[in-house]
C-alpha cells in the first residue's frame, strides 16, 4: 500500500545519474502524452462511427504534438548538460546528440516515466473515453499551473496546448455523460470502466521527486480534478467514489516501473528504428 507517501527515485535509475528535475519532468510529460497518443491511434479505423474515429485520432495528433515539443526541449537540455547525462541517453546511431527521436525510440521500458494510466489497453469504447476524460482533465488543471511556471519554454508549450486540451475535456466529458446516462448497456460499460481504472488515477496525485522539485501543487490539482470528475459523474448518473481513502493506488510509472503492457507498446513503436537504425521519414 502506497497511498500517501511520495515516490522517491531509486538509486538504480539507469539512465540519468545526476539528472536535472526539469529534464526528468519533461520526459515524464512527453512519455505520458506519447504513450496515450499511441493507444488512441490504435483506434484508427475501429471507432463506432467515422466522426468519433476522426475525433480520437485528432486527439492522438494533439498529444503527439505535445510529446514532440517536450522531447525536443528535453533533448536540448540533455545536450547542453553534463556528459554523464548525455552518455546515458543514447542518440540515434550516427547522430552525435540526443534528439526527439532518440528519446522516443531508443529508451527502454524502465527509462519511460509515463503514468500507468496511459499505457493500459484500450479495452472498449467506454474504457477509452473514461481514461481520456481522466487524463485530459488532469492535463487541463496541470497546464493551467504550468502556464505560471518560471521556465518560459514550458509556459509556451502549456499555453499552446491548453486550448486543445480544453477541447479534449469537453469531448470526452460529453461522452462520459452520453454513455453513463444512456442505455442500460452503455451505463454498465461505464461502471465496468470505472472499476477497471479505479486503481490507476491515484498515481497522478502522488508526486515524484522531480514534480516536487518543479513546485507542482499536486494537492490543488487533486482537488480540482476530483471536483470536475464528480460534477461530470453526477450529470452522467454514475457513482463517484474516487476519493475513497481505502483505495489501493498502483504506482511506479513515474519512475520507470511499468505494467506488462508498456513493453508491447514499445516493441511495436521502436521496432523499425531498432531493426533499421537511422531510418528517417
Amino acid at each position: 500500500m502506497n497511498t500517501n507517501s511520495s515516490i522517491t527515485t531509486p538509486d538504480f535509475m539507469p539512465q540519468t545519474p545526476n539528472p536535472q528535475p526539469l529534464t526528468l519532468y519533461l520526459l515524464h510529460l512527453a512519455d505520458s502524452t506519447l504513450i496515450l497518443s499511441h493507444r488512441n491511434s490504435e483506434w484508427c479505423g475501429h471507432a463506432p462511427i467515422l466522426e468519433q474515429d476522426i475525433a480520437l485520432t485528432n486527439i492522438a495528433l494533439d498529444l503527439l504534438g505535445q510529446a514532440r515539443n517536450f522531447y525536443q526541449y528535453a533533448a536540448e537540455l540533455i545536450n547542453q548538460n553534463s556528459n554523464n547525462e548525455r552518455s546515458k541517453v543514447p542518440p540515434l546511431e550516427g547522430f552525435r546528440e540526443a534528439t526527439e527521436d532518440s528519446l522516443a525510440y531508443l529508451r527502454i521500458e524502465n527509462e519511460y516515466k509515463n503514468l500507468l494510466l496511459t499505457e493500459l489497453p484500450n479495452e472498449d469504447w467506454a474504457h477509452t473515453i473514461l481514461r481520456q476524460f481522466y487524463f485530459s482533465t488532469f492535463q487541463f488543471y496541470l497546464f493551467q499551473q504550468l502556464q505560471q511556471n518560471n521556465d518560459e519554454h514550458i509556459v509556451a508549450i502549456a499555453a499552446k496546448a491548453i486550448k486543445e486540451i480544453s477541447y479534449h475535456v469537453r469531448w470526452s466529458g460529453e461522452w462520459v455523460v452520453r454513455l453513463g446516462d444512456g442505455t442500460t448497456e452503455s451505463h454498465n460499460k461505464m461502471l465496468k470502466a470505472i472499476d477497471t481504472l479505479k486503481n490507476y488515477t491515484g498515481e497522478m496525485f502522488i508526486a515524484a521527486d522531480y514534480e516536487t522539485a518543479m513546485n507542482i501543487d499536486i494537492d490543488l490539482l487533486k482537488n480540482q480534478w476530483n471536483k470536475k470528475v464528480k460534477q461530470v459523474f453526477e450529470e452522467a448518473t454514475l457513482p463517484y467514489s474516487l476519493e475513497d481513502e481505502t483505495t489501493f493506488h498502483q504506482t511506479g510509472g513515474k519512475i520507470g516501473t511499468h505494467t506488462e503492457y508498456l513493453g508491447y507498446i514499445l516493441t511495436e513503436m521502436q521496432y523499425l528504428q531498432r531493426t533499421y537504425p537511422n531510418s528517417i521519414w
Binding site: 466522426e51 476522426i54 494533439d62 503527439l64 505535445q66 515539443n69 509556459v155 486543445e164 480544453s166 475535456v169
Partner: protein, 179 residues
Amino acid sequence: MQNEYQHTTSFKVSPLEEFKEAIWKVIETVPDPEIPVITLKDLGVIRDIKVSDDNAIEVIITPTYIGCPAMDVMSMSIEQALTEQGYKNVKITKVLSPAWTTDWMSEEGKKKLKEYGIAPPNQKQIVCTPDLFQQEEVVQCPRCDSYHTKMISRFGSTPCKALYQCNTCHEPFEYFKCH
C-alpha cells in the same frame, strides 16, 4: 540563374527593408498545404522575417495546432519558394509563443475560405473552458448564408476544423474552428 543574379544585384543596392519586403512578396504566394485556397500569410502563421549581417534569412513561423502535421510541409514550401527565387541561406524557425489564434487570419483569407465552402472562424470567443455541452457560437452556412446550422462533430478532417450541417439547405460543411 537569372533570378539569382538579379536578386544579388538588387540586394547590394537595396536597403534592408526593401530586401525583406521582397522576401515577403515571395512567401505571400505559398499556399497552405491542406487548404490550398488560402496562403500561409492569410492563415497568419508567418510571424517574422529576420535578415542577419551576412544575409542569412530566417523565417519565423508558428503552428496552428501543436501537432499540426502540415508544419514540415509549410517549412519546406517556404524554403523552396525562396530558393527558386535565388535566395540562399534560408532557415525556418518554429516558435510556439505567442500561441496562434484564428484572429490572425486575414479578412482576405476568411473570404477565400467561405468561397471555397469552409465556414471561416468567428471572432475569438472564450475557448479555454472545459465546460461540457457548451453553447457553440452561431456558425453561418458558407453556401446559403443561413445561421440555422448545427454542429455534427467537434473534430473534422484536419485539427483546425469541425463538422457542421445547415438546417436550411441541408448541406454538410466544415467550420474553421475559432481557436
